[in-house]
């Protein structure tokens, strides 16, 4: 058979450069929301102050810690694979996935609570609120929703990495996908580190 693919092998530096560029585009994606947040915050600072008190800073802080720890475990798993400790690497990714799950469960209760209070876009209660508060909750759902979507994508990516470690396709020599998965996971963490103070802490 003649060569059908030009090259299946992508060297590590090339692969990582591609991932870094992709992460930049992700930052710009969220950047658009940050711009809207900044504009609206300056326009409706009093309403934003009032609406932000509605958020539970304790859950937010918990989730911040959860994500920070998960970033650590994913970094540790990469070190483990570099040291040829496949089982340890898989275990650490598994812990990362558990932490991602904890984050999502917390998020679920948080969103559920807001929706229970009819604080969701288009609800009857929302229509009675001042413009700035409507905007705050709209941004809250959009920003945390888009972030949660990234948590899910990152989780899927890390699950794939875990199975590839199991099958030996990710190993001490070839761990580009693992590294890129970890980079993506750090991005998820990084964005949350900006979302948390903007939404929960600045009141």
């Amino acid at each position: 058979m003649s060569t059908t693919e030009h090259s299946d092998f992508i060297d590590s530096d090339t692969g990582k450069l591609g991932m870094w560029l992709f992460l930049f585009t992700e930052l710009f994606l969220f950047g658009g929301l940050f711009i809207v947040y900044a504009v609206m915050r300056s326009k409706y600072s009093a309403d934003f102050h009032h609406a932000a008190l509605e958020l539970n800073a304790f859950i937010g802080a918990t989730n911040t810690v959860v994500l920070l720890v998960s970033s650590m475990t994913v970094a540790m798993s990469l070190t483990a694979i570099q040291r040829k400790q496949s089982n340890r690497a898989m275990g650490l990714i598994f812990i990362t996935l558990i932490l991602a799950g904890v984050f999502m469960v917390n998020k679920y209760f948080e969103w559920g609570h807001k929706i229970g209070l009819h604080l969701y876009p288009g609800s009857d209660v929302m229509k009675t609120l001042p413009h700035g508060e409507i905007m705050f909750f709209g941004l809250y759902f959009m920003m945390t929703g888009l972030h949660a979507l990234h948590v899910i994508i990152g989780g899927i990516l890390l699950t794939i990495v875990m199975f590839k470690i199991k099958s030996g396709r990710i190993n001490q020599e070839h761990y580009l996908l693992h590294e890129n998965g970890a980079l993506y996971w750090h991005l998820v963490d990084l964005i949350w580190i900006f979302l948390f103070p903007l939404l929960y802490l600045i009141t």
């Binding site: 003649s2 060569t3 059908t4 693919e5 030009h6 090259s7 992508i10 060297d11 530096d13 090339t14 450069l17 591609g18 560029l21 992709f22 930049f24 585009t25 992700e26 930052l27 710009f28 994606l29 969220f30 950047g31 658009g32 929301l33 711009i35 809207v36 504009v39 609206m40 326009k43 409706y44 969701y120 876009p121 288009g122 001042p130 413009h131 700035g132 409507i134 905007m135 709209g138 941004l139 759902f141 959009m142 888009l146």
Partner: protein, 537 residues
Amino acid sequence: MNDSSTAVPLNFLNHKTGLWSWLSSTDHKRIGLLYLYSITVFFCVAAVLGLLMKIEKFAPGQTIMTAQTYNGMFTIHGIIMIFIVVIPGLAAVFGNILLPIMIGAKDVAFPKLNLFSWYVYITGAFLGLYSQFAHGHVPDTGWTFYVPYSAEATSNVVIALTAAFVLGFASILTGLNFIVTIHRMRAPGMTWFRMPLFPWSLYATAWIQILATPIIGITLLMVIAERTFQIGFFDPKLGGDPVLYQHLFWIYSHPAVYVMILPAMGVVSEIFPTFSQKPIFGYGAIVFSSLAIAFVGYLVWGHHMYTSGMSYQARWAFSLLTFLVAVPSAIKVFNWLSTMYGGSVDLKPPLLYAISFIFLFSIGGFTGLTLGSLATDIQVHNTEFIVAHFHYIIFGGMGFGFFAAIHYWYPKIYGRMYSNRWAYIAWGILFTGFNILYFPMFIMGIQGMPRRYFDYDPKFTLGQEISSIGAFILIIGLIAMISNLVYHRRKGAIAPANPWHGVTLEWQIPSPPPHENFDEVPVITHDPYVFDHPYTK
């Protein structure tokens, strides 16, 4: 297969056959051709919509369609032309086919991702078509999706927005692939400043693609959220800000104009030295003006919004920046003309298209300055003057750049020659039709003919008629050009490896290129445009 005297040598077109070998190919040249064929189909669809609009405008009042149909037509004409044809256009077609060859690589950095982006592209393109035929009304917001109308219109706006979002994703992946390719895959000795100018223009373009497209992505998502979940980012009733939408939209969509035009500038930068048999004049100036356009092009979006409610300070700042961005474009034009000066100019079809590119692009550029000036912009804002300016830049610039590219690299890609005679005839019809179609719009625009109207004041009848006749001529020219290229794909004379005596790498390999591009990795020892090198016969 033993009869080697008649067997055609294996190349990327014939080394494997069958539809699936194309749809599953990770070969950059085949992916480029997939883009070429899909773009051509969509271009023809949108061109026909354009023709129908011009027929509607042949006489005042309703002639062949209602106002609502007309609104849908200019919207979908815009969406197809901008997002499906022009933005991917040169980069996805000729960038894919030629970028790796011109820098001496076997393929792009991520071949599978490259194929994946074509699938993303085609998904977006079909979503765009689906918005036409899905249950409900054809989108009627214009390709700009301005809120609050796009948030309230009852037509299939969400599908069209999703299509634009998906197409943006394909654009990002292509850009990302090219940047990494240029950084990592250059052949030994191919230093940054030995790289030909088409790859340089793709490099500048790719940065705009990955840095600007996410902004439109999130903006379109916000409009989708606004329509689906009643989150009022841009709806004043819910505290939103419609002008904020315009800012976010143009932060992408102005740089997107440079995504369209920069690769066309790269193409003609290849054509002028080849057909003058003379090194390009001011290589460095062209490189840096590309980068300057990419950079300054980011900062001029406000000139679309002079009448939308911006402070006076913001308006003059944007006006000043707009004038600044004209400087690097002008530098390029001077360099191209100087390249021809004193060279042995051979007016083959590619050069003819390249010269028309300069002519039309200059008209578009100068009228762009009219629009960049505060006082005159307010006079002609939202008139057909804008339509004319825009088409001189996009069709006259990018479109003619694309035609120049296909006539330049056609023998390389297919290993066949088209008929020069028919290429000249088609060019003549096309160029004439183009100017008859769009030039009257400048005049009518200044006289106050608004754009996006299906009807007009009877005093514009003559101008509109001339313009509509131009549309027919233009379509005939397009048919002639495409027929010439399609017919000679199989019937044309066999093309030599280097029919134009070019000196860049793609001319040093057989036509069509072999599957792996180079038998052995080329080593580059000199600048890209050195003529009378042993390579040239």
